[in-house]
């Protein structure tokens, strides 16, 4: 039985953890109970068939898989992959394993990480629809930017739409952000966020409970969502339609005893139906980052140092160095993103003036252009 250890010189406890996490058809809950029974995975590796058969919560299939030779042989290949992609394996018995994740019902026995985890992470999850509206994307970015400014780590799923916007917002603020994926860390999913993934790995962490090479299967995503909410003190849902994965995350957060926040949206918008329903059901309404922070004890501590500073700076600076026309445009853009024609009409400025003033504002970093000649204030 020891043959697969032979030839793998440097193997250590990581070997057993990778093996344990690679066993399919067995939930994290069961794996955790096995760990309680055997103390560590090396003990489980050496357990004989009779010993395993005696354990009441293991059925025949599980015993077979625990003894499966192929699975055991594959471990060294997995470890090669892990080393190749610069992935760290953090097991549940390690000090650095996030405390709040450890407390959920079925924490993953091992996490695959690119980047670094902090011991005392203060994290909030920001999640939402893939088909988000402009409003949702703006809110995700703004909230995450502000939260990151308070020193909060933004946890999200790096999906298209709200997730990616939230993580970009955190990066823009120079804050920490963690992406939890539903596939192995060998490639980015969705592929268009590859660059984002690299940036997140540099300053924060990209996490998965799946080994490299595991494809983004649909069933992985609800499981991924429990890690997103599990890592965080609270979960903010920005936009979600009625049957959204984000609502699954909200449910997990509730089960795990974490706070659920929702950003209200237009009641006619399909992507706001889920969030508005959450609010009806008692989720806390969020209109600014402070709404989230006041739910947590450490809010008082950071309030005086960071918060005031950011807020005041913003209000003052936005108009600094702008001429008359530019000021007028910013005044109109403050409430909502606007199309260039609407902006021209509302401000009463001719279209050529608006055209050139907007470029100047863009260069000054005050506004940002979105596809379709829509402009918004830059967060």
């Amino acid at each position: 039985m020891n043959h697969c250890k032979v030839g793998y010189k440097m193997f250590d406890s990581m070997f057993y953890w990778v093996w344990l996490s690679s066993i399919p058809g067995m939930g994290s809950r069961k794996k955790n109970r096995l760990l309680e029974y055997f103390k560590d995975p090396a003990g489980l590796w050496d357990a004989s068939e009779e010993e395993l058969r005696k354990i009441s919560f293991l059925n025949g299939g599980s015993v077979c898989r625990l003894l499966d030779k192929n699975l055991r042989e594959d471990v060294s290949r997995h470890i090669e992959n892990i080393n190749k992609y610069g992935i760290k394996v953090i097991n549940i018995q390690e000090e650095i394993y996030p405390e709040c994740l450890k407390n959920i019902y079925d924490p993953p026995v091992a996490l695959y990480v690119r980047g670094s985890l902090l011991k005392d992470e203060k994290a909030v999850a920001v999640v939402g629809s893939r088909n988000a509206s402009l409003y949702g994307l703006t809110m995700a970015e703004r909230l995450s930017y502000d939260l990151a400014g308070y020193g909060i780590t933004i946890v999200s799923g790096m999906a298209r739409g709200i997730d990616a916007s939230a993580q970009k917002g955190a990066l823009k603020a120079g804050g920490r952000t963690i992406a939890v994926l539903g596939c192995g860390l060998d490639k980015a999913y969705p592929a268009e966020n590859k660059e984002l993934m690299e940036r997140i790995a540099q300053t924060g962490a990209v996490i998965s409970e799946y080994l490299p090479g595991v494809p983004p299967l649909p069933q992985n995503f609800p499981a991924r969502n429990r890690i997103i909410s599990g890592l965080s003190m609270g979960t903010v849902i920005i936009e979600a339609n009625e049957k959204s994965g984000s609502l699954i995350t909200a449910n997990f957060a509730l089960e795990q005893g974490r706070e659920v926040f929702a950003v209200p949206g237009n009641i006619t918008s399909p992507v706001s139906r889920g969030t508005n329903k959450l609010i009806k059901d008692g989720a806390k309404i969020v209109t600014c980052a402070e709404d989230i922070l006041e739910e947590f004890i450490f809010y008082q501590r950071t309030y005086n140092t960071n918060c005031q500073g950011i807020k005041e700076k913003k209000e003052e600076n936005i108009f600094k160095g702008l001429d008359e026309n530019e000021r007028r445009l910013v005044e109109h853009l403050r409430n909502e993103p606007l199309h260039i024609d609407v902006l021209s009409k509302q401000s009463g400025l001719g279209i050529q003036l608006v055209n050139s003033a907007l470029v100047m504002l863009e260069l000054k970093g005050v506004v940002e252009q979105m596809p379709g000649k829509v402009y918004k204030i830059k967060v």
Binding site: K345, S356, P371
Partner: protein, 511 residues
Amino acid sequence: MLSKVKSCGLMGIDGYVIEVETDISSGIPAFEIVGLGDVAVKESKERVRASIHNTGLDFPVRRITVNLAPANMKKEGSALDLPIALGILAATQQISTEQLGKYMFVGELSLDGEVKPVNGILSMAVCALQSEVEYFVLPEANADEAAVVKGLNVLPVRNMSEIVEHLNGKKQIETHRIDIDGIFKNSISHELDFADVKGQENVKRALEVAASGAHNCLMIGSPGSGKTMLAKRLPTILPTMTFEEALEVTKIHSIAGLLPPKTSLITSRPFRSPHHTVSNVSLVGGGRYPKPGEISLAHYGVLFLDELPEFAKDALEVLRQPLEDGMVTISRVNASLSYPAKATLICAANPCKCGNLLDPARQCSCTPKQVQAYLGRLSGPLLDRIDIHIEVASVKYKELESTKEEENSAVIRERVNKARRIQLERYKGMEIYSNSQLTPSMINKYCRLDEKGRELLKNSFEKLGLSARAHSRILKVARTIADMEESEEIKTSHLAEAIQYRSLDRKFWCG
């Protein structure tokens, strides 16, 4: 007996004199036409024979040889029917040959002696004037077209007996004249007008800039946002055509056989919108006997390519060279010809496959990768020739209902005319007529930026993620915007507006 009659053939958009020589000698009765005629020319034998008979004249039962000089050039079409028939009549002395040298004849014959219209009359009339013939005899249906040429006596004929009587001095045909200024005045009213377009200030402004500097532009917007409507109205704000321009445009349309009946001159700028299944040849011209393509038919006007990404890739690629040179050169076995092709290119494209990317009211179902792939069909070199990118948003119902008076085309055209005059003045004697044609060395000379402008441009490249190809485009468009405000130097506000028209170069498009 030998006779010589002048006629005219076409080479590209220009005419050349054809000498129709007819020799009638004794021998076995025969009728030969030599001089590289195509099938239509060969078949004219039968038409000539029947129409001479049916006019009540004699067709000689002798050996007839017709030579079309110069004999080394290919001749096509049916316009030589009338001169061949008259050549035979002259050789048999059925018509007087005294004055024949002062005449040039063109026209197709029908079997009963009627003279039918032919294509390319304007080019022939110009050729007639240049070769110093006094009278240009042509089918009556073509008379208005030829009468545009000043200094030429145009004699329209309905049937062969009319011209026979005229030449024999029995009954004179009146010279046909038309009022050219009147044609110009009447034609200026357009059915379409910019006042029909509600809202869309941003797009209208961009099109005005495009018209002022003859810049090519690309409109991107959801289906139903009004791209086609706007493009169709662009010709109405282009500067009024000059007589020379109208002549050139009419020549091309006449050769292609697209001149509407009873039209003397095309006085409004052409608008051509070929379907996206168009072939390379019909786009740039060609064929066994070369014909002008869409880009030449849009000469001095607008070539509108709707659904640009749907066009075959090589069809778009063949447009590149004509767009640059304002000229298409077609080489075929039969001839090598050049057609002018100074058209303003206006393209329209959906932002993505489903078309809803920019529409706030509808959901786009494309992934960013699909969006990239869709616009990726447009090649860089083609985009290089497009100066202005316009994003067209859908107009809200409220605006469609609004009764607000929008600016009409005439007002805009007045401003465009002013900007163009400044350019014509500046580029006098330089073989270019608008800012869009500036060469790199000319850009250095005419699009100077001050310190502030250079700083702005540098900043925008760094901060807005513009691609390098945008540089000269921005300068050209900025030059036009400055001209529109009659400003000698390019100010920062002009430059900033020009930067606004480079949406596709910006990184946000690709996520």
